[in-house]
């Protein structure tokens, strides 16, 4: 290899051997462009996002007539996946505040989720002048294995004795009309892992609430059979799911701003796929030709 001058390397080998750092640089440049040149972006809303939106609207309508039902935000996500789960949480909280549906925040797996959701709720509460304890409550983190989780499903107050700030749960004004999980019409589980399974396998058959999920894009495909069966009512899949939900709320949140960059990044990945494979197929065809000549 040493003696050969660089120009004599075949084009298809050079096509396959682009230095990874150049690829990283192109990703950085492409994703940065929309930060300086905002590109308006309009998404088609997928049926699974619309179903989730309609479910929250339906709860808001029913609350006007019948007994008040609440929403439980199961925040099973950590800072590492905040890029996708945070805009999803923000879009849902915006919708709940706007329609006056009261909600509770908790997590039975990750300590960080309730804290980050609390920050989002406080930021959006200023816009709709909602107050903690009256319009929303935060149970904080309880690590629950199977036994404790079943106890929580059967009797919430046995496991949740204090709220996130340490005040006894009975003193929170909103909790007066919550007897247990049966008073929740929807559990919206935001996670980057399989945390939704506990709610689907163990809690739903008991308390008969609907389940919506806000998941990172990699988990999206594994939710599809649950949507098909009706166990999960609707889903926000990754940043594009959150952007579509923001579009339904017609607000321009963090997700919508990010879609311009997603656009360019995806096109670059498809080009990279094609480049790599053109080089590969060309070199394989050349090897076959060489083998034929040798024989």
């Amino acid at each position: 290899m040493n003696g050969e001058a660089p120009s004599r390397i075949a084009w298809y080998d050079r096509l396959q051997k682009i230095d990874p750092r150049i690829i990283y640089l192109v990703v950085f440049v492409l994703v940065s462009i929309p930060f300086f040149v905002p590109i308006p972006v309009k998404m088609e809303v997928s049926p699974v996002v619309r179903k989730l939106y309609d479910k929250v609207e339906e709860i808001a309508e029913n609350n006007k007539r019948g007994p008040e039902k609440f929403v439980l935000l199961a925040m099973d996500w950590s800072p590492s996946v905040k890029a996708e789960n945070q805009p999803q949480t923000a879009a849902m909280i915006e919708h709940l505040f706007r329609r006056g549906v009261r909600f509770a925040i908790m997590s039975h797996l990750l300590p960080e989720g309730p804290m980050m959701a609390e920050r989002i709720a406080e930021r959006i509460a200023k816009k709709y002048n909602k107050r903690y304890g009256v319009d929303w409550v935060n149970f904080g983190f309880r690590q629950m294995r199977f036994a404790d989780y079943m106890a929580f499903v059967r009797d919430m107050y046995a496991i949740i004795s204090k709220d996130y700030r340490g005040t006894p749960i009975r003193d929170v004004p909103m909790m007066k009309n919550i007897r247990g999980l049966r008073d929740f019409a929807l559990v919206f589980d935001v996670t980057g892992s399989g945390a939704y399974a506990d709610w689907v396998y163990y809690a739903q058959p008991e308390a008969h609430f609907d389940i919506g999920v806000g998941v990172t894009a990699i988990i999206g495909p594994s939710i599809r059979p649950l949507i098909d069966a009706g166990q999960v009512v609707g889903m926000m899949e990754g940043l594009s799911g959150a952007a579509q939900y923001e579009q339904l709320l017609n607000i321009r949140g963090q997700a919508s701003r990010g879609m311009g960059s997603q656009n360019l990044a995806h096109l670059w990945v498809i080009i990279a796929l094609i480049l790599g494979n053109i080089g590969y197929l060309a070199s394989r065809r050349r090897e076959k030709k060489l083998k034929k000549e040798l024989r």
Binding site: P205, E206, I218, I219, S222
Partner: protein, 260 residues
Amino acid sequence: MHATYTMLILTAVFSAPIVLYILRARAGKGEIYIRPIAGLSAIDEAVGRATEMGRPVLYSTGLSWLSIEGLCSVAILSHVARLAAKYDLRIIVPVNSYLLYPIAEEAVREAYADAGKLDLFKAEDVIFIPGQFPYAAGVVGIMHRERVAATFFFGYFAAESLILAEAGSQVGAIQVAGTPDILQIPFFITACDYTIIGEEFYAATAYLTHEPTMIGSLRGQDIGKMILATLTVLLLVFGLLMAFAPNVFFSNWLLDLLLR
């Protein structure tokens, strides 16, 4: 909400074959056939190639802890270690969980002892690296420094599977991977030469270790899956019958039976 009568019957229908075949297999009665798992022949091929090149082999148990996946991964590790010992090859085993680390070290030591080459075994080749991304960075460093000829990824993997598989293909090693977690399999398929998918991972352990419990359990599970398949086909057929002859089959009685 408690089990309906149908669920009680189905609990027995699905659990009985599993327990029955485990007990039969442990009593040594009846030979159970396990279809060859393509990935396993790829392991032998990879170790063979590493011997030709005389480079060491790397076996990663991923982020597995003291779980069933972790123990299955160690079972496959002892098979690979036995092969490596036979060909006087060096095997490097980075482990992520402090609980699994002593068990992995013991498995490699036993493999070299069985081949009568305990002197070749180096305890520091079994390395403990905690943390998800520090583990990935550490393993990538070892691959580049040792220029390993073959890499094996068996056990539980999360997002770092992409970094490991990518680095392996950069070093030009033959790669064989296997994990029950479906989400990481696409990244192993793109970068590895062969990938063992989902439940095949447990079947591979049974195939290698000939553990009666595992083999019996596999047979019981297959019967459970066959029951599920027949139930699905029956539901389909009754659905068709209901459409063609609405008055005869006024409702899908199988579905009603299942839901009573």
